[in-house]
Subunit: 311 residues, 2 copies
DNA sequence: ATATGCCATATCTTATGGATATGGAGCTCC
DNA sequence: GGAGCTCCATATCCATAAGATATGGCATAT
């Protein structure tokens, strides 16, 4: 015979009632089968758990020892079932989320994470930073649940790319640069694409994350403009550090204009330059994880009505 | 449906095999019933534990969470069963032992306790000191397993009193006392009962433990000797303290002659005085506890061939 | 397209948990 | 001290559900 939880439940009932008949009533079964189950348990353990006397059943000393252990195990299974119930509801679990460096720079990202943590404290967030390509791949491979990234670098089937916002792209230039002299507002405020001709340009072109800068270079090529690429860096932050140091100019999503505000000037691009930095939420369309649904819903409702121009 | 350990065992097998058919083989059942049991478990929990695909079954994220918990519970039941197996063998458990003050004074008591602890480290010894009457009663009431005492003060049915040894009783007198002047050996070494006439006598007559001193007084009365009882104390130790202080004389089991050796003289009683201090081990004849048996055996074998003359 | 491996479903069998009926042992209460 | 009561054990029967067998469907690999 294998021991089952039933035996423990029955044992506990008898131990607590001190009485076979009464325990049977409490368990909604009859007395004889209960008697048998208890005996089977004693047999299995090789120990007498009860002493039978005329007015009930009393635990033996071995029974007392067993009682502690049985209680522990039953408690532990009860806790487990409750936990799994919360898992079923989706309010407990793990959620793996990744973002690209530049997606993390947008205030939206930390904001929704904080909101989510508050609303679903039992969902453990596993956060990581990665390239757009790797994020996309790992979501498809079920290795991640959600990702935040800018320009998609591939669209594997089954993945949803939900554009949360599109923010303008700004030109970043050292304060003493020619382009930095442009007025903040007014007719000539915007930077034209031809202004890039022969300029020292810094690119963020981390492997697998061409995104925004590929688009920029494509636009330039289209119009016959040939900027002078002086550096290709991995991170948006390095990019702005180089700009601040006077190494060249670059373009960045508007949400980064707080960075190096004292040493870098940010200027809008001309209307005709269709270059913008979207923020996309990526997830598997068929993701059955409730937590993923909650997260997507939260992000969606947080950004609802937000056209992305702000922040 | 109620969850049973079977479900956990089956789940674990499938999770570890990653394969329903292979897990079924390992469990010595067929694949379809296993399939059903797993499904029943998933149903019960309200969560999909596996993703089925063409080459096996892979844990879902909920399944991973459940795996940890299921392992924990199965481990814990395995540990429990092992522990109960040791309980069944008797090598694990609790043993409640009590002794009277004067029984504890005999070296045998600590010696067997030390031996027992060494041989059965998983049996927790619960030691206490008490009067002979209370020890007897509590053993009968299954409140204690064994007791060490001197002269039984009652013999409830079902209790075994095993006399481990009988040791002589010595007269204890202050060094400057008349009786202390008797030679240690030789013709006149022994103290006669008539020497007690009009002597200041100290008794240990703790409530419920008349034992030795009741016998002494009975002997005196029988022979028409009337000692002068100057004190009745509760403990053998107090007794000897008073003797050392010169308050009177007393009699004690021979095993106590190390106490106050510098200030108290110990002298043998005459052969004709049939007064001796036995050391008895008490236990219930019907005690089914293996540990009790082990203890009785150990004590018996330790005292085998020991006629009690030695201490 | 075919074949193969794997899981799900359907049906049947069987083992066992549970119900019913009865017996025996120990108290209690006259 | 005996009658009756309470409570647990035993014996037999029934019902449920675990398990076996047979088959079908789906996906991947060849």
């Amino acid at each position: 015979m294998d021991m089952e939880l039933r035996h423990l439940r029955y044992f506990l009932a008898v131990a607590e009632a001190g009485h076979l008949t009464r325990a049977a009533a409490r368990l909604n079964i009859q007395q004889p089968p209960l008697s048998q189950q208890i005996k089977a348990l004693e047999n299995h353990l090789g120990v007498a758990l009860f002493r039978r006397h005329a007015k009930g059943m009393a635990l033996t000393e071995s029974g007392e020892l067993f009682l502690e252990e049985a209680r522990r195990i039953l408690d532990s299974t009860a806790v487990m079932e409750q936990r799994m119930a919360r898992v079923a509801q989706g309010v407990r679990g793990r959620l793996a989320i990744a973002f690209t460096t530049s997606a993390a720079a947008h205030l939206l990202t930390p904001r929704v994470l904080r909101l989510f943590r508050g609303r679903y404290p039992e969902i453990e967030l596993s956060l990581s930073e990665n390239s757009a390509a790797e994020i996309t791949e790992r979501i498809a491979a079920r290795d991640l649940h959600c990702g935040f990234l800018r320009v998609p670098v591939g669209r594997p089937p089954g993945l949803v790319f939900r554009t949360l916002l599109k923010e303008p792209v700004l030109v970043a230039a050292p304060l003493d640069h020619r382009l930095a002299q442009k007025p903040r507002t007014g007719k000539n405020a915007a930077v034209a694409l031809k202004d890039f001709q022969d300029e020292n340009l810094i690119l963020v072109r981390r492997a697998g994350a061409p995104g925004l800068y590929a688009n920029l270079l494509a636009l330039c090529a289209e119009r016959g403009i040939c900027p002078n690429v002086v550096a290709e860096v991995e991170r948006m932050m390095t990019n702005l550090n180089l700009v601040a140091a006077g190494a060249g100019i670059s373009v960045v999503p508007a949400s980064m204009q707080q960075v190096h505000a004292k040493t870098v000037a940010y200027r809008p691009l001309g209307k005709s330059i269709h270059l913008n930095a979207p923020l996309n939420l990526v997830y598997r369309a068929a993701d059955e994880t409730a937590a993923t649904g909650f997260f997507v819903d939260l992000v969606t409702s947080t950004t609802a009505g937000d056209d992305g121009a702000r922040s």
